[in-house]
């Protein structure tokens, strides 16, 4: 399946775009996606933390992804 992953903050700088088209095997999970992204973009490994949001919620461990999901990469937040 092909995900269109939204990028924010430093991940946008690392990956160089605000929306990344990313190919992933069907029935991949949140941890699968994180592993694949870190493999392709090693600078992501240096971040304090990295979360995946699925449809505007923090993704659960082992949550399975679908092509229709709105997926976003969430580097350490720093609002306030």
């Amino acid at each position: 399946m092909k995900l269109n992953i939204l990028m924010f903050g430093i991940t946008k700088d690392i990956i160089g775009q605000s929306k990344l088209a990313f190919e992933l095997p069907d029935r991949s999970t949140v941890p699968d996606l994180i592993a694949s992204l870190k493999a392709k973009y090693p600078a992501l490994k240096d971040l304090s933390s990295m979360m995946i949001a699925v449809n505007n919620e923090y993704g659960q461990k082992d949550q399975t992804l679908q092509e229709s999901d709105e997926v976003a990469l969430i580097p350490p937040v720093s609002g306030g």
């Binding site: 924010f8 700088d13 304090s48 949001a53 505007n56 937040v77």
Partner: protein
């Protein structure tokens, strides 16, 4: 008879315009409340003795609003809150500008302080908003790296 123009202020709000602190406070007005605590986060002129030129806030708008709503709900469940309002700024902010305002009204003061402090502490951990500090000689995304 004069017409009063009433501008409804949303409880949860993300905006590129300057935050009107008095409107956030007015949004938590309640005759059942004896106490209001208001937290205002402003842009400091320095971080660890390094001079800050300006800040830039970026938000994942739809999710940020959702997390702010969740946070408000959590606060209401934990304390006897009359009303709570959370306004967060995004975009470019100069020194001294207001980045965030949280106002909480409660019957008694102890709960207002506890609820407001919990709200800002939690907002900083959960709401997908990112702050870039611009220095004279560089810039960093705050908290990105260990």
């Amino acid at each position: 008879m004069e017409e009063t123009i009433w501008k409804a202020v949303p409880a949860i709000y993300l905006t590129e315009e300057p935050i009107a602190v008095d409107e956030v406070i007015a949004a938590v007005n309640s005759e059942n409340a004896g106490a209001v605590d208001v937290f205002i986060g402003t842009v400091r002129n320095s971080t660890k003795e390094r001079k800050v030129v300006r800040l830039e806030f970026e938000a994942y708008d739809s999710m940020a609003l959702r997390e702010m709503e969740k946070l408000a709900q959590q606060v209401r469940e934990r304390w006897p809150v009359e009303k709570i309002a959370i306004h967060h700024r995004k975009g470019v902010l100069q020194i001294g500008e207001v980045a965030v305002v949280i106002a909480v009204s409660t019957p008694h003061r102890k709960e207002a302080f506890a609820a407001c402090q919990f709200a800002i502490d939690t907002l900083k951990q959960t709401v997908p908003i990112w702050k870039k500090e611009i220095f004279e000689d560089g810039q960093i995304w705050v908290a990105a790296h260990p």
